[in-house]
Point group: C2
Chain length 276, copies 2
């Protein structure tokens, strides 16, 4: 296949295929590169870091199988995505799609910047940044997959749907469609983890517009263990609020900063193999 | 009038009236205290500061007349507020009302905190923190009085209406009612300034629930020159986007921080007398 590299990230490369059966589509190649930090000259792998410090053989193949599992699951449920096919251990063919961004409307002003993309978070339970922002809420209260949109730029900034519409980045109909899409996918992902005795606390998805055809809004980027926060031992009451939060949730408040963690949270490395 | 002090702030004291015609109501006494800073041992008044550095004789009376003007204007338009009467140069009688707060749901967790109040911002044009947060927008684009809610605590934090509902702080019906109320008041305030050749860029209101009776949600706290940002020379196109933004708006970007100001903005001190 002739092709050109159009994006190179820490976890994958994206190529445009220029000939053959999949001409015009994108090929994702999942990498073995792993992020982390150096300690005493030795690489320590840690997905919480952004610097590539080495390789973990087979990492790309595992990520590809995990993503393939979920894209096929979405297909079975009739959910649109950019997924077309998985063609080798670590290679996937997808429809070209564009992020939900817009150029800066007045680039002549210092500090003006394009909207690079929108990220949609959804939450089954109130933890993480939701509790840190709204600490009057009981930890792990059921918040019914509430969807929040974040502008991606130098930093991630919350934007209300009303403001998003006013900026011209999305129409109200596109926003409503996107929120429903995120909630449907969230439901499927939650239920799939549930079938393995795991509970999804929250997650984040990137949506995009298909580059060709009807330019439909679909989920782009793969569903990976890094886009969901998962726990074990979820014990909901009849309203879906977890009842063991007093034993599970640990918060702290120091120097004006709140932290929150859940003892029963399961690390990505410990649940990635569940679907392989 | 017998009464007890229930709140003492920088700009006013609030007393509960315990006898007489207005028994059970609150009396607001607007103060002459003024905030600012000290320079070479001399007080410099500046409403941007939070420390009281001296008094400006007549300041309380002017604030009281300004607020009275707008509460009466709202009354004429049938908009509910806590306002009852103005009984002297610097004294107002109001219905007792409670802020839109809720106690911390799980106070046993370190860092948990009550929701003290909600503040509602509304914007005719994209400037201030809206542009700083969403710098892909053209400065002073018409954003149709878009309303955003902010939780008041250690810091002001944006909360979407969907999240607000999920926290249990307000019902969806209360949120919809509040947004419409804020927009109606914004329209009246904008139009009143417009009649004096001034344009309101944006503003913020605090709402509350009346303490007695039907516990209706009303505007509480007074409309003061500090809750609106005002300019002169607004020149909208047919869509309401200001056309002179290239001459008026000045932005900067340094060390990751954006600033934005509008040359035609009018300081509070320079428009407070317009309605007296």
């Amino acid at each position: 296949m002739e092709e050109k590299l159009i994006y190179s990230g820490k976890s994958k490369n994206v190529y445009e295929i220029t000939s053959g059966r999949y001409s015009g589509k994108y090929r994702l190649v999942f990498k073995d590169d792993a992020t982390g930090y150096f300690e005493n000259g030795k690489a320590v792998f840690d997905p919480g870091y952004d610097t590539v410090v080495g390789q973990i053989p087979g990492k790309g193949a595992i990520a590809c199988r995990f993503a393939t599992h979920f894209f096929k699951l979405l297909q079975e449920h009739g959910i649109p995505s950019h997924y077309i096919d998985t063609v080798s251990d670590n290679e996937m063919i997808v429809e070209p799609a564009l992020p939900l961004g817009i150029p800066a409307d007045s680039p002549e002003f210092p500090g003006s910047a394009p909207l690079q993309n929108l990220e949609f978070t959804w939450r089954n339970n109130a933890t993480g940044s939701f509790w840190r922002r709204y600490p009057f809420v009981r930890p792990c209260r059921n918040i019914h997959k509430v969807v929040e949109a974040w502008t991606k730029g130098d930093t991630d900034i919350l934007i209300t749907f009303e403001a998003l519409e006013e900026t011209g980045a999305m129409t109200r109909a596109e926003i409503d469609y996107s929120v429903e899409l995120v909630k449907k996918i969230a439901e499927i992902v939650t239920s799939e983890f549930g079938s393995k005795g795991l509970h999804v606390l929250d997650g984040k998805f990137e949506l995009g517009r298909l580059k060709y055809g009807d330019r439909k809004i679909v989920i782009i980027d793969e569903i990976s263990p890094d886009v969901v926060r998962v726990c074990r031992g979820y014990a909901p009451d009849k309203d879906g609020n977890c009842t063991i939060y007093k034993d599970c949730t640990v918060t702290n408040f120091a120097e004006g900063k709140r932290t929150i963690k859940n003892r029963n949270q399961v690390k990505a490395a410990d649940f990635i193999s569940v679907f392989l």
